[in-house]
């Protein structure tokens, strides 16, 4: 994605990025020390050396009601893999690289003290993210080998049920909202089928209408079908 100013962003497949939510009792004040601490804690989540990883993280206090401390949402990817992706952005300024699911997070409605589950099905990967308030509490990505929509709906329903149970048991978070983003886009029946399987409402995550309102009608349709991550980035920057 890019704009007329030469700035560009790159959304990579969720499978290329390892994401973890780490808890800390305290965090160092100095940024280099915090970098080292986060890199060291991410070691067990990486299939490669932590020194090869390129990290990005955001730290926030632990949600109220829980134990005092901090939580960090950490993204990690092998530097050599990202460099290959970046080669496609050669000459562009203002680079932004995110996993596709991360770009969807700004599209979730702001609801304090309410758990929301975002399920993103894209490029053969299914990613489940539990958001509580304004912070991510859970993130899991697994490969989707099923190709048939019915099989995929079954897999998604199973994943939703597992994640909701896990959030309830381990995070003490109820997840009344389930959002589903599927690309290439699918019919509303897919969400309904998943909702029936898990016994709760599942909504499709779509870009807000006002984001694509200024686009010509010829571009509006593909934007509504594929532009959810882009809309998320626009909302994140606004």
């Amino acid at each position: 994605m890019g704009d007329r100013d030469g700035r560009a962003g790159l959304l990579v497949s969720d499978g290329a990025v390892r994401v973890a939510v780490l808890s800390f009792e305290t965090v160092p004040d100095k940024r280099p020390e915090l970098d080292s601490l986060v890199r060291w804690r991410m070691k067990e989540n990486l299939p490669f050396s932590p020194e090869e990883a390129r990290l990005s993280y955001q730290v926030s206090p632990t949600r109220s009601g829980g134990s005092a401390g901090f939580e960090a949402l950490v993204l990690a990817a092998r530097g050599s893999v990202l460099s290959e992706y970046e080669a496609a952005l050669e000459g562009a300024d203002g680079r932004l690289i995110l996993p596709a699911t991360a770009a969807l997070l700004p599209l979730l409605p702001q609801e304090s003290a309410v758990g929301q589950l975002l399920v993103n099905l894209c490029s053969g990967w299914i990613t489940s993210v539990v958001v509580w308030g304004d912070r991510v509490s859970f993130w899991r990505t697994r490969e989707m080998v099923e190709r048939e929509p019915r099989e995929q709906a079954q897999v998604v329903a199973t994943e939703v049920a597992r994640v909701c149970a896990s959030a309830r048991d381990h995070l003490q978070v109820e997840v009344p909202r389930v959002w589903l983003c599927v690309r290439p886009p699918t019919s509303d029946d897919f969400a309904s089928e998943v909702g029936r399987a898990v016994g709760q409402e599942v909504r499709l995550l779509a870009p807000p209408v006002e984001v694509g309102a200024s686009l010509p009608s010829a571009e509006r349709t593909p934007f509504e079908r594929f532009g959810a991550p882009l809309a998320g980035l626009l909302m994140n920057s606004s």
Binding site: L10, Q58, R95, L96, L98, P106, D134, N236
Partner: protein, 214 residues
């Protein structure tokens, strides 16, 4: 929710400001280059001027060296070498003619018998050598005669002439005989007289040395 994540590498300070500072840096480098070039040209001119100033002394030095070489070649000629040998011979003879008073006194004292003593000694330059005047006192005439014979027998003295004779009548010299005599000293020079630091009485004779100047 709002995210602040980005896996892209943030550009370094250099990458952020390299383009901004490239033009001023280039201008500054150009200015420095101009200053250096100007300085180099100035130094080169000063070097050329110093080099030109050095040409004249170097030419004079070469001429002096050539003159010295010519003079050395002249000295190597047979007639010049003969002149040089003569000058060296004359100088050696002059050296031999130098007389030391202390050495002369010792030589005279060696000629004195136990009954005589040297009262006075003087050296006078003459055309044919150094004329020595003695004044010797003895207890008797026999001692003075022995002294005179010793001087006559000495190869260092020639033309011994006995002068006045006196007899002491008062004080410590009462009863002694004093004689004054002269002789021409033809003996050894300073080289044979042993080491001493006394100036030669014939220093002026050195002025007559033939100098090795051409």
């Amino acid at each position: 929710m709002k995210i602040t994540l980005n896996l892209a590498v943030s550009p370094s300070f250099r990458e952020q400001h390299s383009l901004t500072w490239s033009a001023p840096t280039a201008l500054a480098a150009l200015a420095v280059l101009i200053v250096l070039a100007h300085s180099t040209v100035r130094d080169l001119r000063a070097y050329r001027k110093a080099e030109q100033d050095l040409v004249k002394p170097q030419r004079q030095e070469r001429e002096l060296v050539e003159r010295e070489a010519g003079l050395r070649r002249g000295l190597e000629r047979p007639e010049s070498r003969a002149t040089l040998r003569k000058a060296q011979l004359v100088n050696s003879l002059i050296e031999k003619k130098q007389v030391s008073v202390s050495a002369l006194a010792i030589e005279v004292a060696d000629l004195l018998p136990p009954e005589a003593r040297l009262v006075g000694l003087a050296v006078v330059r003459s055309d044919n050598g150094s004329l020595v005047k003695f004044q010797v006192s003895g207890r008797n005439a026999q001692a003075l005669e022995t002294f005179g014979n010793n001087v006559l027998d000495s190869p260092d003295f020639e033309d011994f002439v006995l002068g006045s004779v006196g007899f002491g009548s008062q004080g410590a010299g009462a009863g002694e005989v004093t004689v004054t005599c002269t002789a021409r000293y033809v003996g050894k020079g300073n080289d044979d007289a042993g080491d001493n630091d006394e100036p030669s009485p014939t220093v002026e004779s050195r002025k007559s040395k033939v100098e090795r100047k051409n």
